[in-house]
Symmetry: D2
Subunit: 341 residues, 4 copies
């Protein structure tokens, strides 16, 4: 068979490992030809693609990013592509497509399949918020990077009796902040699922200092929000004079905690370091297995399905299961970790 | 309550994180007193223990090893302890025990509980071979260390057109070798579950070189065995003249591959580096959650149970489930990865 | 002898390794008693100190921060302490002091020595800007952390065709930005020693994209400044309406580059992660050797001197040599690296 | 100019960074053409080479090994090449050669230059034993890898009250063992420069245990030798029955210490992990600067010279200075570190 592969949306450590795995499995086991489509759905629409062979994927297991490039496209563009799916497949001469992407990509997989371009999905989100799979690759790497940062921050915070606020990825869900916060032993963890009260955070830190501890680390997801009406930055990035303000929640939180506590508080913004670079061993294995199973699914005709981790096994599940709801941090898990804070 | 905690058997990154977590949860949530028992069951029998508080567990999240010490004891000793369980509990003044250990420890948990020392188990094995839990802490760290080593070996092997044989932990099961082998992109993976034919390994390497590749990496579990009668080291560490020989399977395999291939082949023995040092973020989280749930299980009276990861949740399962069989690498997973070899 | 030791100023990976080394050398070789003075000169003035022995320094080789605490004090306070040096030494019962600190601390070493409290200095600056020593500990660690971050950023920048601006430590000198920039292969490096023209930076990036490269990384020291009059942030943190603005040079530079280039540009602020955590092997060795030699210097009466790395050897040099001028990046080295930018 | 570049001898992290740097400097600053010669002097003799441009060196800063390949050749082959130097240069059409290699390569640089193939040398040895330069690239990386391993070993050794013997690279000099031993806090360091007495090592370990410490780490260079007549392995790899024995000094030392001490002692052989993989930031910078200066030296006609680090500067020194003697660990440094052992 001639199978297209594309990567869509924000990048994630492990994308290249999936591509490598698809090539290995397709060529060595099934004698397929793999066509790498450039820049996600944009390349599909514009017919930009190249054959990808063994030599092209050498070294990809450890390489972050995606050699195929990725791009975000408007939903209308995807709708247009769905409408022309049959023709696009014919133009590229592909029998099927493996689409590695987020919720939107998975949602489109069924429509493409129905419209004449059979698609198997591979879920990709650094935020780990896709339901129906225990984990997505890239997440473990993000947590690893964030945890290493917290480890480093602890000694410097302690030496100077400071509060450090680490802003971590997670616009809609708090998986990275929660997991890295537990792994790093943060003293406060703020996530989008549970609006926080800055007074409570400040009191927790004060109690900690009162017990003789000399520092505190707060891990905050970029999408964490205060209880309405309790902080300056409720105003949405515009200050009280109507001027544009700089800095995300990490910076604002550090500023306000410093005011409230009368102690030095500093923000650390890890930003894109969380989504770049070499994947962890776990993410490489997950990505590799997703790649194998996606190829197998193509050969078994399981279109409109995507690869999912369930316990220790990879299952193919209908894309509808991924897109009904975001996988948020459940209250039980949140409760689990309150005692260490 | 007054709860004892002990660590038994070989050490594992994450033991200290469990101890820390038990102390946090017990003290902060339930007002318990935690008694740290020294050197595993030996300390239980000899009544060596100390109260462990907040200050004792500061910094333990990232520290490998176990501050309580660990020791291997003969099964008869444990049987003796079971027979005197009630008295031992009384001597230490403990209401319950959290025993962190391997299969043997978990097996004893029910007997102790029946005999008057109520025990909740926390599974510990670097080899990841305990059934009934998706994972054990320490395993991810071992895989991480082994994968980093393979990453480093690849460039030097390639520069010198060499075969490198990396011997990894795993006496009875091949989880570390398999997982690190996939994550590191090893070209051959040899595990105890599937006796290997050295001729097949040699042929695979030759085909690889014939395709223009200039090196090969073989990951071998220390417990991997050849098909009977095919290698020198079948003789079990004694050479054909009856003299003691040095070196494990990694060394022997490299020697024989060098002979068979006429190419330089070198062994690398990572040894104890795989079980020491700072746990990965994932292992810290797993260990921390095991600790929380063990304390909860004590308070709920779930004795003779142990903490297990199921998907993304921690469940308490009867210890009988852990000890019926070793969790070996299933043939399906083995088959999954053949195409990358 | 009874020797005091204190750490002053901002913390640095390796401070604890110096303390450990002083204790080992002092106790094992000379039979000294080591008195750890808390919170730098503040503890000296307030007479807060404790004896530090072997057990207190176990594990310190790898631990960031300082177990003695550190604090910044006003120069007048130090002047006061100098005036009362003899009495302070008598109160603590110390024969000599090893003061680990920056330029200010070293400068005071001579004055204290003259006033009756004999001091040997150990230079400490993460910025590597103390003249008269080839290197200071902590710097290599900061460069290591920054380089790892740049490594990670490259793949994500490339996948998304972005410009990433990494803000690194260095208020007065550009050593960290220059060294990490070279090590990470940054495409632009902006340091305080050479005011930059943002148009030139933008043009360099455009030329890079024109050559088919899909991303660019700019490493900028926090103290880098634009050629006067060329950027918004010349206004010193206050916007054109007179309101306080947030964000340092990294954020501002990314904002303005995005405007100039019409491409996504994002800042990454590594902040305190650069000065925390486990020191690199090199920094541990340097710190350990500084500690040994400081103790030897005390016993040889080389007061008013500080430990310095010269080639591969540790020398004791008069503190006057350290404080005459800041060690800035020389134009030759700047020229050396222009071709890779 | 048309400049050849080759890498000779054992590989070292940083070789690729030199190649990249030569290409950048040569092309961008001088408009040179760079010819990459394959497999060291073997490729020079056989005329195997290819032009290397910007695209070929993308990503090389972080890549271990050498994209040009390396090989060891007999000295007679090099002598033959020297005799035909003029012709070889003409065949490849090169005006000069940058030869990256060890002592032998540097020694040949003068002869080639005299014979009509002008050569600038770049020193390469993971062992750091080339005189006349403060450091060589690859060494810092080897020390980093070895130190990380010792860090990991400490916790597992302590948990099990074991002695661990870590065998590190260094056939003729002990720089890696000494430096990683200090950085890792090893309790014994054995190097080729100073024959060791196993009884003394055993006594040191016993005293340590007597002081209540529960483990010991011994770092041993592969070339360390016992005082003659004191150990089994004096017999040179053949046991007392005349049969070939396996295992290097690490294995033998662990075996004998276990016998002497009556405690578990285990060897860890890091092997090629020390010379593979991504270079540290410091090694990348050193390699990059060596590359720049080598190109400059070619344009200045400094043939028969090699690049050397002196303090913080790169100097070009006559190759004769490198080959008069091996840089061994000086007794003063050895004495420096005795107190921590």
């Amino acid at each position: 068979m001639r199978i297209g592969v594309l990567t869509s949306g924000g990048d994630c450590p492990g994308l290249n490992a999936v591509i490598r795995s698809v090539v290995h499995r397709g060529l060595d086991v099934h004698g397929d030809e793999i066509l790498g489509i450039e820049d996600g759905f944009r390349g599909l629409i514009e017919g930009r693609a190249r054959v990808v062979g063994h030599d092209d994927v050498t070294g990809l297991l450890t390489l972050g990013g995606t050699i195929l490039g990725s791009a975000r496209v408007h939903r209308e563009k995807i709708d247009w592509a769905v409408a022309h799916a049959h023709q696009l497949a014919a133009d590229l001469g592909i029998d099927a497509l493996i689409a590695i992407g987020g919720e939107g990509t998975l949602a489109a997989a069924r429509k493409f399949s129905d419209a004449g371009l059979p698609v198997v999905g591979v879920p990709k989100t650094i935020d780990n918020d896709i339901d129906a799979t225990d984990a997505t690759f890239g997440f473990d790497t993000a947590v690893h990077v964030a945890t290493e940062a917290i480890d480093r921050l602890k000694t410097t915070a302690e030496s100077h009796q400071r509060v450090l606020v680490v802003e971590l990825m997670g616009r809609h869900t708090g998986w990275i902040a929660l997991t890295a916060g537990i792994a790093g032993g943060a003293h406060g963890i703020l996530i989008p699922e549970k609006p926080f009260d800055i007074e409570t955070v400040a009191r927790m830190i004060e109690e900690r200092f009162a017990r003789g501890k000399k520092f505190a680390i707060v891990a905050v997801a970029e999408g964490a929000v205060p209880v309405p009406g309790t902080m300056l930055f409720d105003h949405g990035g515009v200050d009280q004079f109507g001027h544009r303000t700089f800095g995300g929640i990490g910076t604002r939180l550090a500023d306000e905690l410093e005011d409230l506590l009368g102690k030095e508080a500093r923000p650390v913004i890890l930003g894109h370091t969380q989504r770049g670079g070499t994947p962890t061993a776990r993410d490489r294995v997950l990505a590799t297995r997703f790649g194998w199973h996606a190829v197998e699914a193509v050969h078994q005709g399981l279109f409109g399905h995507f690869t999912a981790l369930r316990n220790t096994e990879i299952k193919l599940v209908p894309v509808e299961e991924a897109i009904t709801r975001l996988k948020t941090v459940p209250p039980e898990l949140w409760a689990e970790c309150e005692s260490v804070l």
